[in-house]
């Protein structure tokens, strides 16, 4: 029978001992443990349970010695020198003296830390302001945003907001809803007090501020009984109050002309509480038409004693019941109520946390840099530590010295970092897109100052611990040997090298993120829109039902307005439509070829004759709509390419007949095909679009354009859009003075706003990546320079023995390059895994875009080569005789 020899205990344990157990105990303690190890093995215990047992016991023993050692040394030293605090002060003084003596490496370390801490604090203050701080309203979690998606029996659906009937149902029937309000954001022109100016405004129903829980700074706010209101009312923001009225309380009750309507100022809204945007300056009170068909975003407040989930259920029940009453048309409804907080910040949260992570990486890279510098310096000071240790300085005493140095560095770094953060915050405020909510209150306060200080302290202690570990264990005899570079053993090189590898890996990841975002942004702004947005104005009117009792009246208004505007010499063309590009509304219809069982879903839009030419979308087949396409004439449609291809493949679509949704499956003649254009967001492909003539929708229940509101597209002839705006408003007011003014915006401005967020993120990511790159370059430079200085003797001997300068150059450069290559490999692997988190923010490229990966790798390698080459060249220029004489 053969016996298997017993397995030896795990080696890792010996390392644990090596750190903490005093050398006089090492042998017997590990012997005792080994004895038990072999005994348990002989008793038949499996290695699977034995190994963890052994490691755990080693760790516990090491910890016991570690604790006992510290307690003892502390007691001895404090009794000797009058306290910990005194000697720490000495340490700090000593560290300060050291910095003055070596200003260059110290200031490099401080700048690296300042950069890392500054970037971190700036991003933290944004995250704190946007995500962490509660909304400025009482019990903000009780404010919900309600919206609904309706799917009608006839195959159509629309959604995004709350129909008025259900708004009323919620207001009247719900027990859990304290208040509910509609709001509709836009812009208004305030005139009559100085120069007329456009302000971001909102049209709100009377309970709007009750929902938010905001009390006016001055005034009573909107009347709760609208019956008693004789004049249109407006509330203004504190900022506007100060700029227009100089903060005069007499502003209350005075009149303000808002979009040519005189409104009484009834309240001042305290700053910092603005909604829907923090920049909203005016809130105009609007009435709801009892028979209205308004469809807008709504917010509500849940009563304080009602649990939120119960309120959610009740809201859903009431909305469902109210839809059932509507019965005939609503087939299915989907209600969603999200907390106001979620609806405000939900969209930017992932991106902000990703930025925070990127900023964290920058700090890590900076820390690696400083650790590097400190370790290199500790190596140079090996002799000093050796002497101090021989003269009786304990290990803890030496460690404390190094920690004091790193604390001093990091404190200086964090103080400078606060300055850097302030500058960065300033820059971000100036460049941040309006889509990032809640940024206006961003500034410096105690929290944002404490964060960099805490970060600095933490990095200081961590850096100190890392770099002091070896500095405090000098081999005294070796250190004292003349000219020996004792503390540059393989272990130290290992730590230094792994710092370099980690640093380059992290930088590659950061650069990769930046490069992917930038490449994607470039694709996004270069995307072919399919139309020409320049010089196009979009106006939207939200008339109540009382204004236009029938669709005919509605259309007449637009006809009159279009006619008036088309005579304006500055107008190139004008068209009306139920949608514009990038409007966040949709209305789906199902379309099919007669006889086919397969139907396609398409977005239905009702447009006037000149719509395509004003928009600049190309007609590629057939014709656009004509004035003769009116109610009673043959139903016609224009398809976009995508829909035409889906329905007819490559066959010509013009002249074909399609069936559009509707109870009687009416047959519609395809009159034309328009080239695909991006009707929704830029990062989404063109959806299938079905256009119907606006005039044919009169008397057609399936084309309820009046439910969707209407947009007017006005093309300016000479690009002077700002001059067109007042003419547009006054033309509308001349036709119908009582019409609430519509919001006016430039299509190109909307486009630019829609890419503001990706632009901002790619710019920030790029800044972080470049910052990290500079840090790595400095770190590499330092590392290679340090190697050169350390191995001068070896180099000169090589040169003296006939090695060519080129081979010495190669040798030194390979020192730095090999670590970076390993780091780049690791970074690429991490990037391949991690980049899919970015996929949601990318457009037109894959998360593994080979171009971005290759560009970043090459870029990093070029910088690496440069950073290594400069100090390496010095090695080749050594004069052997001179170097040998001085060393």
């Amino acid at each position: 029978m053969s016996h298997r020899p017993p397995s030896p205990p795990p080696r890792l344990a010996a390392r644990l001992f090596g750190r903490a157990v005093p050398s006089r105990w090492k042998l017997s303690v590990s012997g005792d443990l080994d004895e038990e190890w072999y005994q348990r093995q002989a008793d038949g215990q499996s290695l699977w349970t034995l190994r963890p047992w052994y490691l755990f016991q080693s760790l516990r023993i090491a910890l016991s010695f570690f604790r006992a050692g510290f307690a003892e040394r502390d007691a001895v030293q404090s009794s000797r020198k009058g306290g910990w605090a005194t000697s720490f002060r000495q340490d700090i003084r000593l560290a300060g003296r050291l910095f003055r003596r070596h200003p260059l490496p110290s200031s490099m370390a401080v700048s690296a830390l300042a950069l890392g801490i500054g970037v971190n604090s700036a991003v933290f203050s944004v995250v704190d302001q946007v995500l962490l701080r509660p909304l400025p309203y009482p019990a903000p979690e009780r404010i919900l945003q309600v919206s609904a998606t309706l799917m009608m029996g006839n195959g159509m659906s629309f959604g995004g907001s709350l129909p008025q009937a259900h708004f009323e149902a919620l207001r009247n029937r719900s027990r859990s809803v304290e208040a509910i309000a509609y709001y509709n954001a836009g812009q208004t022109i305030v005139s009559g007090r100085g120069e007329a100016r456009v302000y971001p405004s909102a049209f709100v129903t009377q309970d709007f501020f009750r929902v938010l829980g905001v009390n006016p700074l001055l005034g009573r706010g909107f009347a709760s009984d609208l019956g008693a209101v004789s004049q249109p009312q407006v509330m203004i923001s504190e900022g506007l109050w100060k700029s227009l009225f100089g903060g005069d309380p007499g502003a209350l009750g005075s009149r303000l002309t808002v979009d040519d309507v005189a409104r009484v100022v009834v309240g001042i809204v305290p700053s910092g509480t603005g909604f829907p945007s923090s920049e909203t300056a005016l809130w105009c009170l609007r009435r709801l038409d009892p028979a209205g068909k308004t469809l807008e975003p709504a917010i509500l407040r849940v009563r304080s004693q009602v649990p939120l989930d119960q309120a959610d259920k009740e809201i859903e029940q009431i909305l469902m019941a109210s839809w059932e009453e509507e019965g005939a048309i609503v087939d299915q409804a989907d209600v969603s109520s999200t907390s106001l907080y979620e609806s405000i910040v939900g969209g930017v949260r992932p991106a902000l946390w990703a930025l925070m992570a990127a900023a964290g990486l920058v700090l890590l890279v900076a820390c690696a840099n400083v650790a590097h510098l400190m370790m290199a310096r500790a190596a140079v000071r090996g002799r000093e530590f050796g002497i101090r240790s021989t003269l009786g300085a304990g290990r803890w005493r030496l460690m404390r010295q190094v920690i004091a140095e790193s604390l001093l560095l990091s404190c200086a770094g964090s103080l400078l970092g606060i300055g850097a953060a302030a500058a960065l915050v300033h820059l971000m405020m100036a460049r941040a897109p309006a889509e990032i909510p809640r940024l206006d209150g961003l500034g410096f306060d105690l929290r944002t100052i404490l964060w960099p200080l805490a970060l600095g302290l933490l990095t200081g202690v961590a850096l100190g611990l890392v770099s002091s570990r070896r500095a405090s264990r000098p081999a005294a005899d070796a250190a004292l040997r003349d000219g020996a570079s004792c503390t540059t053993g393989p272990r130290r090189s290992w730590t230094l090298n792994s710092l370099l590898v980690g640093q380059s890996a992290m930088t590659l990841v950061l650069l990769l993120g930046a490069s992917l975002l930038t490449h994607s942004f470039y694709r996004l702004i270069r995307v072919d829109l399919g139309y020409r947005p320049d010089g196009l104005l979009v106006t939207e009117f939200q008339p109540g039902e009382s204004h236009f009792p029938t669709p005919r009246n509605h259309l007449d208004f637009y006809d009159a307005l279009m006619e008036r505007l088309s005579k304006d010499p500055g107008v190139r063309g004008v068209a009306a439509g139920s949608h514009t590009p990038m409007a966040n509304k949709w209305y789906l219809a199902s379309v099919q070829v007669p006889g086919s069982s397969q139907s396609e879903q398409a977005q239905l839009q009702m447009v006037s004759e000149d719509y395509f030419s004003v928009l600049g979308a190309d007609l590629i087949e057939g014709r656009a709509f004509l004035p003769t396409d009116r109610a009673g004439s043959r139903p016609v449609a224009v398809l976009n390419q995508t829909l035409a291809r889906r329905l007819f493949g490559d066959a010509p679509a013009v002249g074909q007949v399609i069936e559009s949704s509707g109870g009687d499956r009416r047959q519609v003649l395809v009159a034309g095909v328009v080239a695909d254009y991006l009707a929704g967001r830029l990062n989404q492909p063109a959806p299938p679009l079905l256009f119907r003539p606006l005039r044919q929708s009169i008397g057609d229940q399936d084309l309820p354009f009046w439910r969707l509101g209407m947009y007017l597209l006005v093309g300016s002839r000479d690009g002077r859009i700002e001059e067109l705006v007042p003419r547009l408003s006054s033309a509308a007011a001349e036709i119908d003075p009582s019409l609430p003014p519509g919001g006016v915006s430039e299509l190109s401005a909307r486009l630019s706003r829609s890419v503001a967020q990706p632009r901002f993120y790619s710019a920030l990511a790029g800044t972080f990546g470049l910052g990290a790159l500079i840090l790595v370059a400095v770190g590499l430079y330092g590392a290679v320079a340090y190697t050169v200085s350390r191995r001068t003797q070896e180099m000169v001997v090589r040169l003296a023995l006939g090695a060519s300068p080129r081979s010495v150059l190669r040798l030194v450069m390979w020192q730095g390059l090999s670590k970076v290559l390993l780091g780049v490999t690791l970074g690429l692997m991490a990037g391949l895994v991690g980049s899919r988190w970015l996929a949601a923010h990318l457009f037109g490229i894959s998360a593994r875009d080979p171009l971005s990966f290759a560009a970043v790798t090459v870029f990093l390698l070029i910088v690496t080569l440069a950073a290594c080459w400069i100090p390496a060249r010095r090695a080749t220029r050594l004069d052997p005789m001179e170097a040998l004489r001085t060393s």
Partner: protein
């Protein structure tokens, strides 16, 4: 009272175990002895730290055995009490006894 001060509970247990084990007193056996007699499982690390401390106080001396194959060729560290240890033990016991004096019936009645 001597300069050493009063012994802690685990210190007493360790010293008494060494006394009992005589020539065979090394850390594993000491732990074993304490466990068998009192049922207490003293942590290994704590035993080492106490042995180290007692040795520094001069209550113990130690020496190494020959390398032993059952320990992977490592030596055992044996311990022996020094006269001050006996003094400290009896002092600790005396202190305990005087604190217990007259309290036994009361404690047992609970």
């Amino acid at each position: 009272m001597s300069k050493i001060g009063l012994l802690g509970e685990l210190e007493q247990l360790v010293l008494l175990a060494i006394l009992r084990l005589g020539e065979e007193a090394y850390a594993v056996a000491i732990r074993q002895e304490i466990r068998e007699r009192t049922g207490l499982r003293a942590a290994r690390g704590a035993v080492y730290v106490i042995l180290d401390r007692l040795e520094k106080k001069g209550l113990l001396t130690s020496w190494f055995s020959e390398p032993l194959p059952e320990r992977g060729g490592k030596a055992r560290r044996y311990f022996k009490l020094e006269p001050p240890a006996l003094e400290a033990l009896s002092q600790a016991r005396g202190a305990m006894n005087s604190m217990w004096e007259g309290l036994e019936p009361e404690v047992e009645s609970i």
